[in-house]
C-alpha cells in the first residue's frame, strides 16, 4: 500500500483487466487501489500499425479492474518511437 505512495505525482502506466494500457500522472489512491490519473492517455497496441495514443484527461479507475501499476521512466519512454512499435494488444481477462 505505502509502496504506491512512491508513485504519487509520477507518470505511471496502468494495465487494466480488460487489457487497456493507460499512462498518466498518479494523483492519488485509496485502500482499494482506486486511483486518480490526471492528464492520461490510452496506448492502443496493434500488430499491423503503430501505437495509437488516445487522450483521456482526468480518470478515476476503480481498483477492481487494475492489474498492474508501474512507474514510467519518462526519459526512456520519450526515446521510444511509438509509431514504430508493433505489438499484439493485451487480452481482456474479464470475458471468455
Amino acid at each position: 500500500m505505502a509502496e504506491l505512495q512512491k508513485f504519487v505525482d509520477l507518470t505511471v502506466e496502468i494495465i487494466t483487466s480488460d487489457g487497456r494500457v493507460i499512462v498518466g500522472l498518479l494523483k492519488g489512491f485509496d485502500q482499494t487501489i482506486n486511483v486518480i490519473l490526471s492528464n492520461c492517455h490510452e496506448r492502443v497496441y496493434s500488430e499491423n500499425e503503430g501505437v495509437e495514443k488516445m487522450s483521456l484527461g482526468l480518470y478515476i479507475i476503480r481498483g477492481d479492474n487494475i492489474v498492474l501499476i508501474g512507474e514510467l521512466d519518462q526519459e526512456r519512454d520519450a526515446s521510444i518511437n511509438l509509431s514504430e512499435i508493433r505489438a499484439a494488444p493485451i487480452n481482456d481477462i474479464t470475458r471468455r
Binding site: 485509496d30 484527461g57 482526468l58 477492481d64
Partner: protein
Amino acid sequence: MLPLSLLNTAQGHPMLVELKNGETFNGHLVNCDNWMNLTLREVIQTSPEGNRFWRLPECYIRGNTIKYLRVPDEIIEMVKEDAFRQRQASSGGSRGRGARGNTGRGREGNARGRSGGGGRGGKF
C-alpha cells in the same frame, strides 16, 4: 488525494462512467457515497458495442460495477479548494468558535439579558 474526495467534488458536474460490462453512462453527477454508488441525471446510456443509446432522466449505479470514471479536468483543482475550505471550517471551527465565543458570549449575554429580562418581566 483520495479518489472518493475527487468524486465528491465532482458533484453537479458532467461525467462519463464505464461499467465493467462495457456500458457507458454520460450524465451529471447528483450524488455519490463511500462505496462509489452514484446517481446521475440527464443520462445517455451506451451499449458495450457503442451502437445503441438510451436516454434516462435519472439513474443509480452500484459502485462495484464501475470500471472507471472520466471527470472534467478542472475538478482536480477544485478538490484542493474544497479541502482547504473544509480544513478551515473544521480546525478553524473550534478556534473560530473560541474566538467568536468571547465576542459571541458578550452578544449572547446581552441578548439573554434582554430576552431573559423581558421573559421574566412577562412571567412575573
